[in-house]
Amino acid sequence: MAMKKSPTEIAKEYLASLRRSASGEASTTEYLEFWSDEIEYILPGLWPMAGRYSKAEHIEIVAPMMESNVEGDRVGEPDTGLYGYEFIEEGNKVCVLARSRGRDHRNLLYMNTFCLWMEFNDDGKLVRYLDEADFSSSWQAFWGVQLQ
């Protein structure tokens, strides 16, 4: 069975869902409706949130860390979140470049550039998802660490 929507269409809907979660228009976990139960979620690198997670591990480990360190009481600002600007797709995969807007641990404006790699099953749910950005700046911005 083929996907009913293209990977790009689903990715755009997913980013809109992430923005609703980040801006407080929806629950902070609404975006998980796009995840299959078999997803491999990859956050590369050596920073506190880095790892490879199942959906259950994301809910247990990553989501609370995001809510406390990344979102915190800053959830609720309009227009916060990820905005895709380039989509390269083939088959059931899409690579998305996106810019983000948020606030750091001092409530200062924070932005980053993301490369998202998404693979979907026939139901249009994410089965492999690489979430990559300049996590060196994220680590400093959200945890307050300094680079020496």
Partner: protein, 158 residues
């Protein structure tokens, strides 16, 4: 320096060009015969490394990529591999997941978890005209350049 181009009049699919380029890079890093990777780069190639590390920024032209980026990295890197995890193409645009691993001259392992990273290419007439590379910046800072992330002293942030 002369860079012989592998011009074949648009005979190769963009994904083939990228696959061949990665293969040549990996062979070159391993000291194997694999063809000249620079020959697959357009003369005015634009390479951007995302982020805010010392490696981040724009490298325009094959000479700057070879002398500044690759030559600079060679002073820190003892061995490295570049392997293709996944590849998708949409016309001239190609997106890939690469597994870049290696070891520094002082024995630090780069990318010990074998994480994939994104790299986007634009290919025109069998040559790569644009590369956008997402290196893991926490690894670049700590493993390649020996820096550390430290908690601020109490009161330092005020």
């Amino acid at each position: 320096m002369e860079y012989p181009a592998d011009k074949r009049g648009g005979e190769m699919e963009p994904k083939e060009v990228v696959t061949e380029f990665i293969s040549r890079c990996d062979a070159g890093l391993a000291g194997r015969e694999g063809g000249d990777p620079y020959a697959l780069l357009a003369e005015g190639i634009e390479l951007r490394i995302q982020g805010h590390t010392i490696l981040a920024g724009d490298y325009v032209g094959r000479e700057i990529i070879e002398k500044v980026l690759v030559g600079g990295l060679a002073t820190r890197v003892a061995k490295a591999r570049i392997e293709l995890d996944s590849l998708i193409g949409d016309g001239a645009k190609v997106a890939s997941l690469l597994r870049i691993t290696g070891e520094t001259i002082d024995g630090k392992v780069y990318n010990p978890k074998d994480d994939p990273g994104g790299c986007l290419f634009t290919v025109n007439e069998d040559q790569i005209s644009q590369i956008r590379l997402f290196l893991d910046n926490t690894m670049v800072e700590t493993v390649l350049y020996g820096r550390q992330y430290v908690a601020p002293e109490l009161g330092e942030e005020a």
